[in-house]
Amino acid sequence: MAEWTADGNKLVIKLVYYGPALSGKTTNLMRLHDMMETGACGELMTFETKGDRTLFFDLLPLVVKAESGFSVKLKLYTVPGQVAHDATRKAVLSRSDGVVFVADSRNSQAVSNFESFDNLEKNAGRVGLDFENLPLVVQFNKRDLEDIVSEEAVRNRWAPTGLPIVFSSALKGVGVVETFRRLLLDTYLHLDGIYDLDRRYGLQTGHFTDLLPTMREP
């Protein structure tokens, strides 16, 4: 649930990168941070990261400003993927406005992906999110590795869900922006439906997409 600041001139939106352990959620945020223009992007805060594993979460704050002076602060979070941190995952997921599910493309990780997605659905229910209408983008990461599920197989499997699928290699920066763009658009549409952002604050899709790095994806 997006949060308004006291003066009502700023909306704080929470976006969460969910997924199994070591699927590349933090890498996604690090890539985004590297590519962002410093003006709109705060520091990437990495909490208690030990041996590549996120124990708390990572946070990347971004700011979107409309000409009206109205601004939107986007906070990008990761959740700890390890099974043991379910309470933390729930807390980070609570009140989120959009979710990227970062799946690991390797064949060996099919079960972890399934379990994590199942966990996302369950936790969404537990923290009171309307999972059916939650902006959600599925990213199949680690496409640069060997022994991965084919794109066709992924598409076939996920087609019934109707969720947008992005193939990526976060480590190489491929697909990271595309994933974020999909999420931004879906989230904007969702929030515009609720808060009438365009009419009341002059906030349009363009303001969101301007945020995206124009940068050359490699």
Binding site: G42, M45, F47, F57, K75, A87, A91, V92
Partner: protein, 477 residues
Amino acid sequence: MNSADEHIEIDAFDREYNLEDLLPRIQAQELLEYIDGSNEAALLLPDGTVYYSRYGTKIDASEIYRQVRTNGREGRLTVVLGNRRMMLFPLNHELETIGFLALEFSGKVTDETTESTGCFLVRVFNRIVNLNYQIRMTAGLHGQVVADSYEALKKKAALLERSEEKYRILAESLEKEVKRKTKKIEATQLMMLQQEKMAAIGQLAAGMAHEINNPVGFVISNLNTLKTGTQNMCRLIDAYHELATLLGKKPDRLDGRLAALKNLREELDIEFVISDTAGLIDESLDGARRIQIIVQNLRDFAHPSVEYAENADINACLETTLAILSGYRSDEIVVQRHYGDVPQVNCQLREINQAFFNILKNAFQAIGDRGRITISTRVEEGTVIVAIADTGSGIEKKILGRIFDPFFTTREVGSGFGLGLFQAYSTLKRHQGTISVQSAPGKGTTFTLWLPTGVGERALIDSNSSSPNGGISGPGR
């Protein structure tokens, strides 16, 4: 850390933190100490109001607003507030929560000085604010997770408490149930012991009937013969009486009478009747005595329930029991007795007899048609030891440990309750004795009973106060 930082609220960890959260005034003061203490230094909120001011300078928010509108938020602004000329540094990004840093410089100030001071301070702010932000968020998250877990634990604890309560009640009722069942089992066991005994008595009665039937048969036959003989004697005596009468009054008719009398004597075969009568009476008396003995034995065995201890001759007990069991016993079974000179044993006679009966009955059954039973008694240190050895089929090793268990039987269902040896065992135990068994399949079995003398009264008390299945675990093995 001051008190403001120590207080961690358990609410959304990722809420928008305000300046009081991130940079408490006392910290702002400490931070601004870096700057020459003789001059004003202040932090303004984004709307231009004062958050902290070293000397409490009143700053007009509208003036700040005007400056920002004219010159933008980038770079350094200058404002004159009262008699103070101050540098105004708008803070951006993560620091926009603060708004502005306002500094007064005395004397000649170069842009370089102000820039470097500003940069230094901004870095310090940034560090502190970010650090606080991180600490608050992680602490908040941690707090929330802990609170969540605590709630979950509390729920679980409540559930556990409830289930514990349930189990406690269950355990209590279980205990009651066990007591009830135990009572029922005890009652059933007693009943079955009684039934077994009654069954044994029934079997005995059948044997007994056979035993009694023979003497009774010839006693009746003898009595019938005696009846006829006696009638004849009476007729003869009548005839003699008539003769005696005639002797006095009419001597002329004597000859005829004498001849008739002789004929009658011959007719009635009085000579034989006279010689036979004594034999009949002796035989009948013997039969009657045999019946008396059998009945006596039965009465001793099935003595009505008078529970008292008495002094008993164990050898005599064994004899009585053997006599009772004679119906079970084929003629081909030899019973060897090696009775020692044993003292009397103060015991519950009926129980002890029953124990001997059960062991001997088993022995006879184990032997079948042909074999030998050796019974020996001796005394050792105030304990009478009875050994009953048979040449029967023996007991297999794997069931040897269970033969004293109640309801353990090797017989067909319905032909035995499996209480015989249990009764023997419990009886010996109540008399502070023991019973043991040695057996070799195919060769035979020996039961040895140790029966201390003089514990009968105590045994009686024990048997009334303790449960009858006290010896269920078997003898010392």
